[in-house]
Symmetry: C2
C-alpha cells in the first residue's frame, strides 16, 4: 500500500482541462414535440414574416375608417381561418373574429362593444382611426430575422416560436450517452440485506438523477466486479455505445482500487487527484475515439460535488450549450466559512431572503459521507485554499443550484 | 355577436380560486431509479443510523492509539466490504482501506502517508490521538431522524440519501395526466402548407413542453374539430383518463368559440375572463370527479403566460409540492413599466448582473401574439393595474423563470 503518486491538480485548472478535452457532439433532427431541453445546433432564421397577414386582435367589425360614424351594411364575415371573400367597399362592414384576416379595403377594426348591431347592419362610432385592433404583417417578426441562436436551450417559448415559423423539426446536438457504474466490494443493491461492513450503493441512483438532469441518456451498469479482467470486459463492452463512462468509488489509493489502472490501460489519465474538498480522488481520462471517463470518488457527497464541478459542464459542452456553468448570485454568509488548508472547498448552503439580500446558511457538517449536507442545499459557496476562510457577514458569489420557490 | 358576459375577475383572486379547486393527487410507489422530480407523499425517517459501523475515511492502518510511536505487526486487513476478522490486540495494526470497518479494539487510523512500512510490520508516529480518520456510527444520521419531509421534490441528493437508508421505493404523488388540444379553424399542423388566413398551431407544442416541465404526463389530442358534437365526443373521451384538460384558443367571445359552452355543459365554469394582460379570456372550469379544465387563450404569449400564472401552480399542487410558486428576487428595472389600465400585466424581461444587482430589461413589444417577447425571457415583472406604472430604476420583485448561466 502506498500513497497516490498522481500530482494534486488545482481545482480550477482541472475543470478547464476537462472542458478542453470535451468534444461537442454531432447533431440530429428532433421534432418540436420532443425538443424540450435540447440545444440548437444551428441558428434559426425566420423563413417568413409573422403574422403573415393582417389579423384581427379582437371580435368586432372591419371597416374603412372613412366610414366612421355611419350605419354600415354587414357584407359578410372574416373568421379565423375563413377569410372574407373579395374586397370591402365603402359603406360596408365585415364581421371579424379574433384571428380573422382583415379584408382587403378595410383599414381598421371596431370592437363589438363599441358598435350597435341590428339585423344586417352595424353602426360604428365616428372618428375611429385607421390601423386599430389588428396585427400588421411582420409586426412580430420580419422575414430573415435571426430568432434563435445555436447554443440556446429550447424551452416552451422557443419551441412555440419554431413551430409558429413552420419548422416541424429542429437540428439539435445529440444527447451524451453515458455508461454509469459503481465500484466497491462493500456495496450491495438497495433493498438487499446488509452484511458486516457492507453499505447500500446509493451513488448510482444519485448520479443517474444528476446525469438525467444534465441531459444525458444513461445506461446503468450493475455494481462493478472486483476483479480486473471482468471489470475490463464490462467497461470495454459498455464503452461501445457510450460517449462517456462515469464510475463512482475505486479511485482512492487502496490496493483494491481497480479503476485508475484500468483507465491507464484503456486510455490516458489526465487527472488523478485534485485540490478539492470534497472530491480529492477525482479522476479524468480520455479514451480512444473521443470518449471520456470520469472516475468520481465513492463518498456520496464527493461524487455529487465532483459531478457538479467537472461532469455537468462537460455534459453541457457535449450538448452544445452556450452556457456551461451554473448561474451565480451574491449572497451574504450567515456563518464563518473556514478554508480547507490547501484545497478549494465547495460548501453546501441553504438560501433565504432577508430584505433585498440572499442569506446563505451552512447545511451543517460538511463531511464527505454526509448526504444531509447536500439534501436541501440551494447553492455552493466556493472557499479558496489558505488559512483565512471567509468571515460571517461577507458577501460572496454563490453557485446557485436552485432558488427556493414560494 | 355580443361582448362576453362573464365577469372580469381580478388576476390574484382568479389564481387563488383555481388553487382552491385543485385537488392533491393520490400517491404511488416509485423506485429510486425513476424518482427524479417526483414529490414525496410522506415523511422519510431514518430506519437506522448512518454510517452503521465505524468506517475508515482514508487508506492507512488501524491501531490502538496507545501503540503510537511503535513498530507494529500487521495482523491483517480491513477492506471495504471485507472486515478484519476478530479483535485487534495491543502491538498489532490492521491495514485499512477507505470504507473499511474499524476493527474491534482499534480506536484510531493512521494515514498511509504518515507510516513507514516494511514486510509484515508498520511503524506509526508517536502521539497519534484516538478517534482520527474514521467516521463514527451515527455521525451522519441518527436512527429515527426525519430526513425528508413530504412535499419535497426529489433531486439527486435526496434520492441518494433515500437509497443509502435502504429504501428501494418511495411513496410519491401521482403525476397529473393532462389532455391537451388546440382549437381554432385557422390552425394547421406544423409542416403543412398554409392556406389564406391560416396559421400554424404552435401552442400545442409550446404547452406540451410547459406541461412536461411542470411534471405532467400529457396526452396530445389533435386539432379540435370545429363542430360542437365531435368536439364534445373528443373531450369526453379524453377526460376518461385525465385529471385535467388544457385547451388553447376558442375562449374569446366570437360566434365560433365552442370551448366555453362545452365546459358549461360538462361542468361548472368558475372563471370566464380575467383582469390580466396578456390572457384576459382565460377560462377555468371544474368537471365531475374532481377534474379540471383550463381554457387558455389562443394568442401564443397569452397561452404561455396564463399557463404560468394559473396552470403551473395547480399542477404543482396536484403533485403535492410544498412550494407552488416560482422564486422571486428583487430586480432593478432598466425600463419604464407602463401599467395596462384595469388589468394586471405580466411583462417579460431578461436579467443581467450589474454589480451586486439584477437588472431587468424588457424583451420589447409585449404584444400577445409576439412570442419573441417570451423567447429568452428570464423573469416576469408583475405590474398592477392603474395609471402609474413603475418608473425606470425602481426595484421590484420579479418572478424568476430561469437564471442565466455563465
Amino acid at each position: 500500500m502506498r500513497a497516490s503518486t498522481y500530482p494534486l491538480v488545482d481545482a480550477a485548472e482541472a475543470a478547464a482541462l476537462v472542458l478542453a478535452r470535451t468534444p461537442v457532439l454531432d447533431s440530429e433532427p428532433v421534432h418540436v414535440r420532443e425538443a424540450l431541453g435540447r440545444v440548437l445546433a444551428e441558428d434559426l432564421v425566420a423563413p417568413s414574416e409573422l403574422p403573415r397577414f393582417p389579423s384581427s386582435a379582437v371580435d368586432g367589425y372591419a371597416i374603412r375608417s372613412a366610414d366612421g360614424g355611419g350605419r354600415l351594411r354587414v357584407a359578410g364575415e372574416s373568421a379565423a381561418g375563413r377569410p372574407f371573400e373579395g374586397r370591402l367597399e365603402a359603406g360596408l362592414a365585415a364581421r371579424i373574429l379574433t384571428g380573422g384576416v382583415l379584408p382587403e379595403g378595410a383599414d381598421t377594426v371596431v370592437m363589438v362593444e363599441d358598435t350597435e348591431q341590428e339585423e344586417g347592419y352595424v353602426t360604428v362610432p365616428a372618428g375611429h382611426p385607421a390601423g386599430r385592433n389588428f396585427h400588421r404583417p411582420g409586426a412580430d417578426l420580419k422575414q430573415g430575422e435571426l430568432v434563435l441562436e445555436r447554443g440556446e436551450e429550447l424551452g416552451p417559448a422557443e419551441i412555440g416560436l419554431a413551430a409558429a415559423l413552420g419548422f416541424p423539426t429542429l437540428t439539435v446536438h445529440r444527447r451524451p450517452r453515458v455508461a454509469l457504474m459503481s465500484t466497491g466490494d462493500e456495496l450491495v443493491e438497495v433493498g438487499e440485506q446488509l452484511g458486516p461492513g457492507q453499505i447500500v450503493d446509493s451513488n448510482r441512483w444519485a448520479l443517474l438523477a444528476a446525469l438525467r438532469e444534465a441531459g444525458a441518456e444513461v445506461r446503468v451498469l450493475g455494481l462493478a466486479p472486483d476483479r480486473p479482467e471482468p471489470l475490463r470486459e464490462l467497461v470495454v463492452e459498455a464503452l461501445g455505445g457510450a460517449d462517456a463512462l462515469v464510475t463512482s468509488g475505486g479511485v482512492s489509493v487502496g490496493s483494491h482500487d481497480l479503476v485508475k489502472p484500468l483507465l491507464e490501460a484503456l486510455g490516458e489519465v489526465h487527472i488523478g487527484r485534485v485540490k478539492l474538498r470534497p472530491g480529492k480522488p477525482f479522476t479524468f481520462a480520455t479514451l480512444p475515439e473521443g470518449r471520456l471517463a470520469f472516475g468520481l470518488p465513492g463518498f456520496p457527497v464527493s461524487s455529487l460535488v465532483t459531478f457538479e464541478v467537472f461532469v455537468r459542464p462537460a455534459l453541457r459542452r457535449m450538448q452544445g450549450h452556450a452556457r456551461l456553468q451554473r448561474p451565480r448570485l451574491p449572497v451574504r454568509l450567515a456563518y464563518e466559512a473556514r478554508a480547507a488548508g490547501d484545497r478549494t472547498e465547495y460548501q453546501r448552503v441553504t438560501l433565504r431572503r432577508e430584505g433585498q439580500e440572499l442569506v446563505a446558511q451552512t447545511t451543517g457538517s460538511q463531511s464527505s459521507s454526509r448526504l444531509m449536507s447536500l439534501v436541501g442545499a440551494d447553492a455552493l459557496v466556493r472557499v479558496s485554499p489558505g488559512a483565512e476562510g471567509i468571515p460571517a457577514g461577507s458577501v460572496v458569489e454563490a453557485i446557485i443550484l436552485r432558488l427556493p420557490g414560494e
